[in-house]
Structure formats: C-alpha cells, structure tokens
Symmetry: C2
Subunit: 358 residues, 2 copies
C-alpha cells in the first residue's frame, strides 16, 4: 500500500519524515529503554522534549520575550470558554464572525459576559473576510476576536487590524503556515491537529500583561496563571502530542523556517486556484478571491451527480478527505504545511483530467 | 539498549506488545495509507477505533447499559472542577481525604458550592484509608467523593462504602487493575496514564440519571451532556491517545480480563511487600498493612544515605522511577498492570542483595 494523498481538514497530514522518526524511536526513545509515552513528565528526558517544543515555536514564530507559550488540553473549543473567563472582566468581547468557529467562540463568551459583533459575513455564507474598514469596535473593549483561517469556508485573513483592543486570534488552521508579527496580538491560540501535530494539544501564546485581568477564584485548570506558573506541567500534559509537536517544529526548521514553508504553501494553493480559475466555470471557488485561504481550497462542481463521481473516482486514486463540509457542499482540499507539493500536483492533474472526461 | 524496568508513577509503563503493535502500524494504519494520527475523527476508520475502545472498556469492566462512557481531555484535574459544576447543585459535596489528589478535588469543589469532609487520614500522613464506619455523610448530600488509590502514599480502598449518597471515585491510578461493581458508583473517572494508556485522555463512566442534575448555561465543553450527545466527538478528540487506549484494552482482554490481571497484580505486590516485611525492618512500608496499594508500593530505608545509594545503584541496573514523592520520602515502586512480573522479581532481588551488602 502506497501512502495516500491526504487532504483531511483535521486531524490532517503529518510530514512523512516525522512519522518515520516517531516510528523508529517509538519503543526506545533516545536510549532510555522506554517509549516517550512512558517517560515521567517530571523526568529530564521528557523535559528536554517539552523545552524543545517551546523554544522551537518561539524561534520559528519569533515570539517576543513578553509572551508566554503554553501547551494545554481541550482544543480551541475549551479556549472559547477560557478566554472570556480569564480576559473579559467587566468589558466587552468583540467578535468578528467569519464562520462556524467564530460563531462558537462568541456563543461561549455570551455565557460569561458582554459581547458585541464587530463584523459578520454570514449574509453571503461566509465567503469572505470583512475588510478592515468594516470592523466596528470601541477603544475600551476587552478584546477583538478573529478566526485567522476558516477551514469550512476556505477563507483567510491576509491582513490583521492594527490599533484595536487586544487582538485575540484562533489560528488553529493556519498557525505556522506564514510569518507572523506576534506583537500585533494579545493572544494567539491553536489546536495542534492541522499544522502543528496530532490532536490532543493546544498551543496558547499570550502577552504577559494580560494575566493582570484574570479574576480570582477561577477553577485551577481554567486559570491561565496555573499553566504559566507550572510551565504547562501543573498536571500530566499530553506528552506524546507535545513530542510530536516538537518533531513537526524541527521539520519546519529543517525546511528553512516559516517563510520557506509559506512559499511552498503559496505554490500549492496557486496550483489549485489556477486549476479552478482556468476551468471555464466547471470548478467554482466558494471564497471570494481576495479572501482565499492558502490552507483550505473550497470548490463546487456543476451538479451533485458530478460531485459524487469526482469524489468517488478521487477516492479510487488514493485521494483522501476531499468531501466538502455540509455548510458549503462540493469539495475541499486542505493543503496544510505537511501536504507535499506532489500530492497537490496530482490533485490538480486529476481535476483537469476529470473535467476533460466529464 | 535493553528495555528498562519501568516503575514510573505516571505516565508509566505500557505493555511492550502494545508499543510494538503501535510502532508497526504507525505510518500506515490498517492499509489506509495514513497514520492513525492523520485519520479524520469523522472517518469510518477512526470511528472503528473509538467504538472499539468504548466497547472493550464496557466489556472488561462489565459497565451496565445505564452508564455512559466518555473520553475527555484535561486529566482528572479538570474533572475535579467539572464534577461539582455539573453535579453539586444546591447540595453538599462530601470528600474523603486520603492524599493530595483528594485534597485537590475538594479545593476545586469549594470554589463552586457547599462541601464537607467525610473523613480524613491526614493526621497520620495519609498512611491508611479510613474504615467504612469512620465515614460521615448525610443522606441528602449530593455525592461522596473518594480517591480509590493514592499513588503518593501507596494506599488503596479495598472495600467501597454502600448505601451512601452518589459515590464518585477518582480511579486514575487503579482502574482496570481489579474487577469492579460499577453499579456501586454514580461516576468513575480516570486519567489514562497509569493503567489505560498514554497521557492525554480521561475516561468518565457516569450513570445516566445524573445528567438531570446538570444546570443550564454551563460552558459547552464543561457540560457532560455535550460529550454524551456527541459520543465524545463534539470537537476533535485526542485520537492517538484513544487508539493507544484501545490497544491496551485489547491487551488486557488477551491476558484473560481484569480478574486475571488482578491475580498477577497481587502476585507482584505480594513479592514486594514480602520483601519489605521480611527485611527485619531494613525496609519499612509507609502504608498501614490493611490499606496497602496493589499499584504503588511505598517504602523507606534506614537513613537518607542508604536511600541515595539504593536509588543510584538501582538506576545503574536499569530500574526507573523508584524515587519516592517528597511528601513521603524514600522509595516508591509503581507496579501498574503493564509492569511485568519479571521486572518486579528483579526489583525484589535487587532489594535483597542491596540489604545484604549494606
């Protein structure tokens, strides 16, 4: 069996080299006579893994010293709750609605305090990111929350607002896909299972001064200060997921860093968007052109019968995960960092040959 | 490098056969052309893993139909908060204090509602489990919370109270080590990283009628109903940890089930306790005899110098994780299900030969 062409939306493709390295040392990690899964989280051998993941993330994203880096559990979905619990206070949480995930984030904040909608593109089925001039907020708002990339709709922020209240971004589906000016954000968070590693660990990057907002008497596990003080080791962390994260970060570094990875991501995305745009309307992109995502390419075919045929033939040829989400229909190719250019070329060729025969 | 003798308190030893199976199929899971980590959590291939883990746990612990089985994140520590949030209501949460973990559970409940201490053995540094007649509670209490095994102090409940308010047990460190009458409990929960698998997944077994107590407007991720309704697939679960759990459960079944595993656990524990008891006082057990744990054997040596020598020589011989917790001092051998009898025999022999030379 050859390796599939993995276009899953998340959990998604991991670099083959990373999987092979993990496989090689799965039973005996660095001559410890144990699996990395069997290491005590208080042991020097595990601490090396933990610190490597942290320092590589700091290095690759140029995270300034005045930001904390945390490894938590519960996915971005638990952050939807922890953010307002910790950072909302008596202020207003302002949310830009660009898809299901930002909707869910807003829903949790509403349970905790005052919220407002800064902008929304729901009217056109989230086919675009609002322009910066559309965003409304008050200077005194507690924060402005955005979802940097929308997996379901295939849209992505290409420029972030500046001089806004504390900017908080859910970057679950595009962190590490492009260089970032971390200082523009108060907080960045991301579930690992798209660009960072397997599911089970969530990265939080938080400007240190934000802890001053945290109210007392929060549940210990839901208080960011707990995890800051303990270096994400308050209780047993998901050690294997953090180990995999460290390997993925190492792989990005070996590739030449985030700017290099971005160049390849652009090449991959351009290949698919060109295929769509040159199809004479056979394939139609869901996202408006200036909001197109480099991570998730969403497109439809002329009718449902052709979509079915496309997906079934694609499956036979070893393409996995091309079904679109029900909110958009059609197809979706998720081309995160670890999806090789060759897989994207194969998909582009398949799309063209399918169209020719249709 | 040979395999170490792994006596870690958690994360702890995994069955070698399980690690080897995971290693073999790490890059290509069941001819999918993908790693199990790359499977979509909505795919049939992953669903098979998820359902296998659930049904094996049900089978091995004879979990009745009127109980839910959930796979959550955040460890037992997040359960310390979720339990009172969901189940305390206007009632009283009654806690039996038998060590640091029950103390932590109580601390979180205090933030949420009314609590009481049913019994405590703190006065004698948690060297025993209270007798059933010592337990105080009121008929109308919301629940009675116990920690079935105390890793740090090496004590374990050998008989659980009956006819008490809803019994809730943190079984993180002894679940699956012995047969259990699940019907005696309202809820059982356990972080996986001792007897069930790697860290990163927490098992919750909850009697279905308890959901009636859950207040509205809880944070979605902290409401047990969210995970019940979605079969623990509300957001991306820690798929690899659940996969490893399924392999460990399969291994227990192949061993003959929980009763068979308990017989080996007793043999292992007896070997070490006999070594301690026959040492003429050279080794002293921390736990009182009738409260001794089958999972964590805690003991001290005559003085600190000998303890140091013991630990250093043990390390040279390939024993890992024997350092005692600072609250007790001395040594601790954690002999969970996956620690083979041979490793325990080797430790017992080493203890004897160390004593002879001392």
């Amino acid at each position: 069996m050859e390796r599939s062409y993995i276009f899953n939306a998340g959990p998604s493709a991991l670099p083959l080299e990373v999987l092979q390295k993990a496989q090689n040392e799965l039973v005996n990690f660095e001559n410890t006579g144990m699996s990395v899964m069997e290491l005590s989280h208080r042991s020097p051998a595990y601490d090396k893994v933990h610190q490597k993941a942290k320092s590589l993330l700091r290095e690759l994203l140029s995270i300034p010293e005045n930001y904390e880096v945390l490894f938590l559990q519960g996915g971005a979905s638990l952050q939807f709750t922890m953010i307002p619990m910790n950072l909302l206070g008596e202020g207003v949480g302002n949310y830009v609605l660009t898809g299901s995930w930002s909707d869910k984030a807003l829903k949790e904040a509403k349970k905790i305090g005052d919220t407002a909608v800064s902008a929304s593109t729901k009217e056109t089925n989230y086919d675009r990111i609002p322009t910066l001039s559309e965003l409304k907020h008050n200077e005194n708002d507690a924060y402005l929350h955005v979802t940097s990339n929308n997996t379901i709709f295939g849209t992505q922020w290409h420029e972030f607002p500046k001089n806004v209240p504390t900017l908080i971004a859910d970057m679950s589906s595009d962190i590490l896909s492009r260089p970032l000016n971390v200082s523009d954000f108060g907080m960045i968070y991301a579930g690992a299972q798209k660009n960072l590693g397997p599911s089970g660990v969530t990265v939080v990057i938080m400007r240190k001064d934000l802890v001053e907002r945290i109210p007392d008497n929060l549940a210990t596990m839901l208080d960011y200060r707990t995890h800051i003080k303990s270096d994400s080791l308050f209780n047993t962390p998901p050690t294997f997921a953090i180990y995999m994260l460290s390997l993925v970060l190492e792989w990005v570094k070996e590739k030449g860093g985030v700017a290099e990875v971005e160049a390849i991501n652009k090449e991959k995305a351009n290949l698919l968007y060109d295929t769509i745009d040159n199809s004479g309307g056979f394939y139609k992109g869901h996202a408006q052109k200036d909001s197109r995502s480099l991570m998730n390419v969403t497109f439809t075919l002329p009718n449902e019968e052709l979509t079915k045929q496309f997906l079934s033939q694609a499956k036979e040829k070893g393409f996995v995960g091309l079904n679109g989400h029900r909110s958009v229909g059609g197809c979706r190719a998720s081309i995160y960092n670890a999806v090789p250019l060759e897989a994207v070329k194969a998909l582009s060729e398949f799309m063209q040959s399918f169209q020719e025969k249709a």
